[in-house]
């Protein structure tokens, strides 16, 4: 379980050293969710896993990395799915397409060049995440007015592209409307 940047880095270091990855070609891995929030210092909570939201080099979850991660889980007492790309399948559509312009470098761990999404992209993804705990994370991110405007612009493009996600998009729009009105967003306007 991870509650600080250091605990995540330690697990990634162990993964990078796994013999199963020795000689593997370098690949970029993009983290999202609470792990990304902890890594960029924007969320102070804990998380059970590192959600991989994208493999820009074309790796898939069938690759050897998640298998190696399961070995690390056993050795370090982590949940078996501590490093998983479930999120890339279920929530990839919530990631703004130009996220690479803003991603942040976490470090190089063996062949893994680990990046995480930016604060702005994290706000966008949390806005579109429908669990209560995501709402709680969103509150702790305290988005500024101009960040809400940007996310609003992104969310507005989704309905046409993802008609099957209308309910989630509705929820995000309602949250945006409320958050724009909140004194919190207004007090952050600078």
């Amino acid at each position: 379980m991870f509650d600080t940047r250091e605990t995540i880095i330690q697990a990634l270091e162990a993964l990078g050293r796994h013999p199963g990855l020795a000689g593997a070609s370098a690949t970029v891995v993009v983290l999202a969710g609470r792990a990304a929030g902890i890594l960029i210092g924007e969320i102070r909570t804990n998380t059970a896993d590192c959600d991989v939201v994208a493999w820009p080099d074309g790796f898939s979850r069938s690759g050897p990395i998640e298998g190696c991660a399961q070995d690390i889980a056993k050795a370090h007492g982590l949940p078996t799915d501590w490093f998983n790309s479930e999120c890339s399948l279920t929530s990839g559509w919530k990631l703004p397409p130009d996220y690479r312009d803003r991603w942040e470098r976490v470090g190089r761990f063996g062949p893994l060049d680990v990046r995480c999404i930016s604060r702005l992209d994290l706000i966008a993804m949390k806005m579109l995440a429908t669990r209560d705990r995501d709402m709680r994370d969103l509150e702790s991110l305290r988005p500024r007015a101009q960040e809400l405007d940007w996310v609003g612009g992104f969310v507005a493009t989704l309905k046409e592209r993802f008609p099957g996600e209308a309910q989630t998009i509705d929820i995000a729009k309602a949250r945006l409307l409320d958050m724009r009105k909140s004194p919190r967003a207004q007090s952050h306007e600078d």
Binding site: M1, F2, D3, N46, T47, A48, P79, T80, D81, T130, R131, D132, R133, D134, M135, R136, E139, Q167, D170, I171, K173, A174, R175, L177, D178, M179, S182
Partner: protein
């Protein structure tokens, strides 16, 4: 130094119960009824607890004496908290694909008074558009209890293996091996009353008729778990002298009071 919060302590207790929260394991026996009630009471600020409770109940619900749970919850919880408990029980049944708590929910539901649906996460109350959207999209379970819950999924990946959890919590075997909930709950009610209970009072607390407790009580007497003392008119049901008068986790009222927690 970081101050330990009530949430931190609950996560430790959940960890011992087999739910993989990021916390050290609580180092004393835990009372699942107290754990569930404390989680329900804190779920409005820490909504993870709702998902943890519903997931755990779907797998380990057989160790919970639900009549005792409902009775205790009614003593300690507000109507909103009771609605959250009902919603959690019904959600766990949805996760498990069975109706283990149907009777519990049908018993609890008529006693819960909720004027207007409210969001599980308290912070959402400041967001009227969002709450309205949640209400519009609410599923049958949320609508029935008036608790607007966001997406919840069974986090079975966060549960430890059953054998490991039961070995760590041997006091749960008593519940697992009981014949049905009346027997399971009766034992908890009797254990919680050092002065003993009359059969009528036991039936009242269990929410069943006096004749419905007859067979479970007879079985518990045969197993020498409880005994019946006094004359016919004043007879009381007490723990059998060979049984611990207090369960391993009793006095856990103390555990849930932050100031009295052993550190």
């Amino acid at each position: 130094m970081k101050t330990e919060t009530q949430y931190d302590r609950l996560k430790q207790r959940w960890r011992r119960a087999g739910y993989a929260y990021s916390a050290p394991q609580w180092d004393a026996p835990i009372d699942v009824v107290e754990l569930l009630i404390d989680s329900v009471k804190l779920a409005r600020t820490e909504p993870d607890l709702f998902e943890a409770g519903a997931t755990w109940l779907a797998r380990f619900g057989d160790v919970v004496p639900w009549r005792y749970l409902l009775w205790t919850a009614r003593q300690r919880c507000s109507h909103k908290e009771l609605a959250i408990l009902g919603c959690m029980l019904e959600t766990s049944d949805r996760f498990a694909g069975r109706a283990r708590y149907r009777e519990a929910c049908n018993t609890l539901h008529p006693t819960v008074r909720i004027e207007r649906p409210f969001p599980l996460y308290e912070g959402s109350e400041r967001m009227p558009e969002y709450v309205e959207t949640l209400r519009r999209h609410a599923d049958a379970v949320s609508t029935r209890w008036g608790v607007l819950v966001g997406d919840v999924t069974a986090r079975y990946d966060a549960l430890e293996d059953e054998a490991v959890v039961l070995a760590r919590n041997p006091e749960w075997f008593e519940s697992v091996t009981s014949h049905g909930d009346v027997e399971k709950s009766a034992l908890r009610f009797i254990r919680s009353e050092p002065q003993g209970l009359s059969k009528s009072e036991l039936a009242r607390r269990c929410g069943v008729t006096r004749s419905s407790v007859h067979a479970p009580v007879a079985r518990l007497i045969r197993q020498r778990k409880i005994e019946q003392t006094g004359s016919r008119k004043t007879s009381r049901l007490r723990m059998h002298p060979t049984q611990p008068r207090r369960s391993a986790f009793q006095g856990l009222g103390a555990v849930v009071q932050p100031q009295a927690e052993p550190r």
